[in-house]
Amino acid sequence: MVTLRQIASMVILFLIGSSSLFLLGGKAERDAWMSVGVGVLAGFLVISLVTLQIQRLEPDRNLIEIFKLYFGRVIGFALGFIYVIYFCYKCIRNVREFADLSIMFLLSDTPLSVIMFIICLIGGYAVMGGPGVFFRMAEILLPFLLLIYALIYILLIATGTIDLGRLLPMLEKGFKPVWDAAIPEIISFPFGEMVLFLMFWRYIDRGSFSQVMKVTLNSYLFAGAFITVMNVVIVASLGSLAGWSTVPLLQATTYVSIGDVFERFDPFVALLFFTAVYVKLTAYYLGASLALAYLFRISLRIAAIPVGIGIFFGSFWFKSYMHQVNIGFEQNIKYHFPIFQMYIPVLLLIVMLLRSGVRSRSKHQSQPSSEDSNHAK
């Protein structure tokens, strides 16, 4: 089973995930970090008031089981299936980011399809192990990642790349651009993505659910603070260039040079990002596979195969990295993702609260543990 510490590691890694690749809230320019701050707080409300509340009412069921329980077989199945698609789509985006950046920074001559295939393979291997294995991986990876990030920041400070003066003047155009950049974009990406954890929370080996809430929210806030600091570092190192760079933090590290010996870290930094993106895409892959497994009552290992194939071929849909980024930032995070991250969960929560009286009576009859044997690891 999953320990509290593992879920905390996973929340942090998941949120850092691909957000380190972009300048979040770029529209607010040098006030971007404030947008991120606003986004963190708004996301905090969404998670604590909606996502975690859903799980609190049904601590032993995952999202798919909750859908089936509260919306009946047909609508529950349909909603569950939509979420499988949503998780797959998010995974596809991450696979594509991973692959495109690999080609950009590491392997210019390798075909995209080969890289995507390998990514799907390494993701699939972890998924086949089940949530227990994947969460343990996160627990091991997190300290390394944080350490390397800390090292990068220290190098950036030591070499004088960071100039906090680039953040001034603050709020030049008032608070409106900051707010506009944050809502709903930054809630949708990355903070609202916590909806995925509705698939994972039930695996936690816990005393009471309030512990889970506390750990989740604490690690959420840590990740939020981390991303805000990262944003400050990016803007303070690159200034107005930040908005134009493909991968701003990577750009910033190219300014680092120690004693003319260590000059080019970017392949290593790229690997660091990829580790984080890998965790994120595998989390989605696992979420989608678990959801599919519960929908069709098959084992996780079998469910991971069609999901993996779907993700692999789905990744060809984007024409280029910029196409993928644009669709994501122009359309998805404004119109599509909020549906899955907020509207449906809110609807679900309302239904749950309304029916909670009815449910509490029949709860004793249905046994949530019947499906555990398939997935428990």
Binding site: T3, R5, Q6, S102, L106, L107, T110, I115, I118, I119, L121, I122, Y125, A126, G129, G132, V133, F134, F135, R136, M137, E139, I140, L141, D260, V261, F262, E263, R264, F265, P267, F268, L271, F274, T275, Y278
Partner: protein
């Protein structure tokens, strides 16, 4: 090794398999008949000794002594025979209220361990274990005497796990010697030895050793369950057992530790692990284990803690060097040259000038060469050892560089990798690193750093999924167990090591030493 439990267990099987068969096998009052049947059961053979005795003081009752020559202790037998003859007079006084069989068992035989035998089968198996059998005419039972002996190797310094400071005793091939070595270290009444016999033909004795109350009951039960499930014709080494009882079959990583050091085995017992000893091999198995255990040497606990900590970090680093260095070299020189400082890049490029192979092939050639050299070093007769080092070092190393087949940098990389792989104290973990090295080299040669990272991710997922007797292999990192970190990368001083490893030993009995033992300078004397 005589073993009553086994004798009785085989007796049980025969008694359950029907009356008719049992009647065929039980010993008869007719001595000659019994001897003949025993001979037939064992298929004759020159080494089966049968001595029929008869003398007046025993009422001329005939009795026979049977044993297999070579696996018994001849001295013990002749002393016993002398004792029997001396004893004849006593028997004369007491013959009214006893039988000869009873008299022998209770008074005459000068051997510590006796057992009663009822069937031919039991008698034969007891003889095969090294017992001598005494059959008295007219008695329905025979006496099995523990006269186990024969040639065994003396206790010597372990050859595979050497230390600079620490005990120099090693296990031998004799199970009894090995159990005694443990008994001599841990003189606790809680020390348990549970014996089993595995192997249809070899009937190899196996001892499951643990400390009652310190080892976890679940683990002990699981060890027994897995051992009992083994059905094989022969067990010649603990490796046979290991492959049957490990948690996952397909993994390059060892899921059980092996040791030929009694002190290592005792330390494992004290930490709540279970030791499985197999007769016929000096290597005992230790379970459950975690990944980090393979980087610990018993010497870590005998040297000062700061030195031990330093050595452990060196070993961990060596493991990663041994696994990754050639692949990193391949990846960087093939795909990511821009990462190197310019001067180094120029120097490398100059060396590679005229080398006909790509870096991957070059590395493969050298690595395979080295693996062959190493294997040759292990297998060849000791006398021609120096020849290999000359051929290896001069011909294959220097000459290959001078001939322009291999670059000098590659020789450095491969040699350093090889030396690093010898640092890992557990040979089986070193082999795992060697195997993984080749896979990572291929990945590095085809996909550069991306390939290495993909390989490492799979490796991590694999490691996180492994278990040893139900205990997560990556403990105490995942799941994180803070208390166990005191003895992983860092070895804290002994006075700070208050708890046994949590979640491996029995957690209800975790405290292993008193509190507040940190030495402090004598305030008044100062």
């Amino acid at each position: 090794m005589p073993n009553d439990k086994n004798a009785t267990s085989s007796g049980k099987t025969s008694s359950s398999s029907g009356q008719a068969k049992q009647a065929e096998q039980v010993l008869l009052p007719d001595l000659d008949m019994n001897i003949e049947r025993l001979h037939r059961f064992l298929g004759g053979g020159e080494d089966i000794v049968c001595r029929t005795l008869q003398h007046r003081s025993f009422d001329n009752t005939r009795y026979a002594l049977m044993y297999i020559d070579g696996i018994v202790d001849g001295g013990v037998i002749s002393t016993m025979l002398l004792g029997l003859l001396d004893d004849a007079n006593q028997y004369a006084e007491m013959r009214e209220d006893t039988t000869l069989h009873r008299h022998l068992t209770e008074r005459s035989i000068a051997i510590g361990k006796l057992s009663e035998i009822e069937t031919v089968e039991q008698a034969c198996y007891a003889m095969l274990e090294g017992c001598s059998i005494l059959i008295v005419e007219g008695s329905l039972r025979a006496i099995a005497m523990d006269t186990t002996g024969g040639k065994t190797r003396a206790v010597e310094e372990p050859s595979s796990q050497t230390v600079i400071r620490g005990p120099k005793e090693g296990f031998t091939e004799n199970l009894r010697t090995n159990t005694s070595l443990i008994r001599k270290i841990i003189k606790s009444p809680d020390l348990r030895f549970e014996y089993k016999m595995i192997g249809r033909q070899t009937r190899t004795n196996i001892a499951v050793v643990y400390l009652e109350g310190i080892a976890e009951a679940e683990v002990i039960k699981e060890v027994h369950r897995r051992l009992d499930a083994i059905d094989i014709d022969g067990v010649l080494e603990s490796g046979y057992i290991e492959e049957f009882i490990q948690d996952r079959a397909f993994t390059p990583f060892p899921l059980l530790q092996n040791t030929e050091r009694p002190d290592t085995a005792s330390a494992a017992l004290l930490e709540g692990q279970v030791v499985i000893m197999v007769s016929g091999t000096p290597f005992a198995l230790v379970a459950p284990v975690t990944f980090v255990k393979f980087f610990q040497s018993s010497e870590d606990y005998y040297q000062r803690y700061d030195i031990a900590t330093f050595l452990r970090i060196i070993r961990m680093t060596s493991f990663f060097i041994s696994m990754l260095l050639p692949s990193l070299y391949i990846a960087i020189t093939t795909f990511h040259q821009e990462m190197l400082p310019t001067s180094l890049l120029i120097s490398l490029a100059a060396q590679r000038e005229g080398i006909p192979f790509p870096a991957l092939l070059e590395a493969f050639l050298m690595e395979i060469t080295f693996e062959i050299l190493r294997e040759a070093g292990v297998r060849m007769p000791r006398i021609i050892g120096p020849a290999i080092s000359i051929v290896g070092a001069l011909v294959l190393g220097q000459a290959a560089v001078q001939a322009g087949i291999i670059s000098a940098a590659m020789v450095i990389v491969v040699s350093f990798t090889a030396i690093a792989s010898f640092v890992i104290p557990a040979v089986n973990m070193g082999i795992a690193a060697r195997l993984i090295r080749f896979i990572l080299m291929i990945l590095a040669g085809t996909f550069g750093l991306f390939g290495i990272m993909s390989g490492l991710m799979i490796l991590l997922a694999h490691l996180c999924g492994l278990r040893s007797f139900g205990k997560p292999y990556m403990m105490p990192f995942a799941p994180f167990v803070a208390s166990n970190l005191k003895d992983v990368l860092v070895r804290v001083p002994w006075w700070a090591m208050r708890k046994r490893p949590v979640k491996i030993a029995n957690d209800n009995n975790a405290i292993r030493e008193g509190a507040g033992q940190k030495p402090s300078p004598d305030q008044e004397g100062a």
